[in-house]
Amino acid sequence: MTNKAIRHHGLKNVYQNSIAPWVLPVILLVVWQVSVSTGAMQLIASPYEVLTTAITYTLSGEIFEHIGVSFFRAAVGFLIGGGLGFILGVLNGMSNSSQRYTDTTIQMFRNIPILAMIPLVIIWFGVGETAKIFLVTAGVMFPVYINTFHGIRSVDRGLLEMSRIYGISKWHLFTKVILPGAMPSILVGVRYALGVMWVTLIVAETIAATSGIGYMSMNAREFMQIDVIILAILLYSVLGKIADTLAKLLEKRLLNWHPTYQNLRNS
């Protein structure tokens, strides 16, 4: 290939990797703006209006308050629920008797739709932080539990047998063999739990809250502030995307031994 051809090829690559994915979103934005401006679409705010609202809310600092509150609920609920799910998953994965005593009960609770508990939770905890954190905790716990349990149970028998022959200590057996072996499955649980976390939080905040992104959105409905509602939706999607990206980074780091992630490491 000549230099020119190589350069041409390089430009094509840049286009395909960095620009091509954005073509459709830009077209959609333009269509959206035009149809709102010309009055073809009603009961919706234009992208421009949403943007100015976002700027106003940012400048007033209000947006950070709501994001902060929602993020706090999500994080605390995730840590408690994920932690409990992980601990239970490890206990039942490692010990048959623990599994015999608790697994059936856990499975029973798992099948309760968390959102159906909202009325009860409001009676118990009111509309305060405890209610939201409780719901997120309950929603997050089970996917982490199931995937941790399953991951530990499906660690390669051959490796466990090998560890037994080599007389490795119990601690090393757990940290060097069982936990890394279960990690791919645990991380699947974490990513799934992050999805559950946002859905639970959104519903909880929309139904019973006096702060947070969901509250901001419901409050705006009363005054027909469609731009604020759309802003709230966008905020949730951005937060969701950030959470997912963090989970992916965690995967890349913890599973860097895995052939799937190997070309990333070697390149």
Partner: protein
Amino acid sequence: MTNQQNGVQLRIENMKKNFGKTEVIKGIDLQIDAGEFVAIVGKSGCGKSTLLRLIAGLDEKTEGTIYQNDTILSKQNNDARVMFQEDRLLPWQDVLTNVGFGLQLQNDWQKGAKQLLQEVGLENHASKWPSLLSGGQKQRVALARALAANPRLLLLDEPLGALDALTRIEMQGLIEEIWKRNQFTALLVTHDVSEAIMLADRIIVISEGMISYDRDVPLSRPRERSHPVFKEIERELYAELLEESHKQQTFAM
């Protein structure tokens, strides 16, 4: 490594093993001298791997006794190390740490592990993931790991079965060399007749859970595949293994 690292002596008496109602080992008596290299040959399902697993303490015997240096072997055999057909390396640990596993990751294991890697010629691969190694290299790492605790008994369960012919010959050389140097007792389960003759002082054939053949290999080392005695033993072994299947066929009719 000194001569104090001599291998163990094994005495197996009336060994039986059932899996459910199936008798896999039907009564084996066997004595193996310290430092001896014994190959166990047989067709798949004859019970040869089971015998090895019983000696390693991985499975529990149904009946019989194993004496190791005249003491009865209870559950786990701490003097023994096993090399399997699969490498059984931890894919999430680098090569060095995998070897360190043989040293139970205890005090200063890195130094010992590096030395072992050098012995199997992989000192330049210490920080790699196992998945980046070839099949032969992985088995070398597994061998290094098995040697880490200076085992007095090395149990080899078809360790070269999944390798290509050339790598296999190379690995046979390596195993022989290390066995000569470390003087442990070695027990090799294989279905490769020439591998058995190449490595072993003595060859045993197991068929249907019993010893059907037992002979010494009176060849000096290193051995040549073209040696007439090598050829003769090879013929004899094939005859033994094939006759046995012939018998089975006649029974079936």
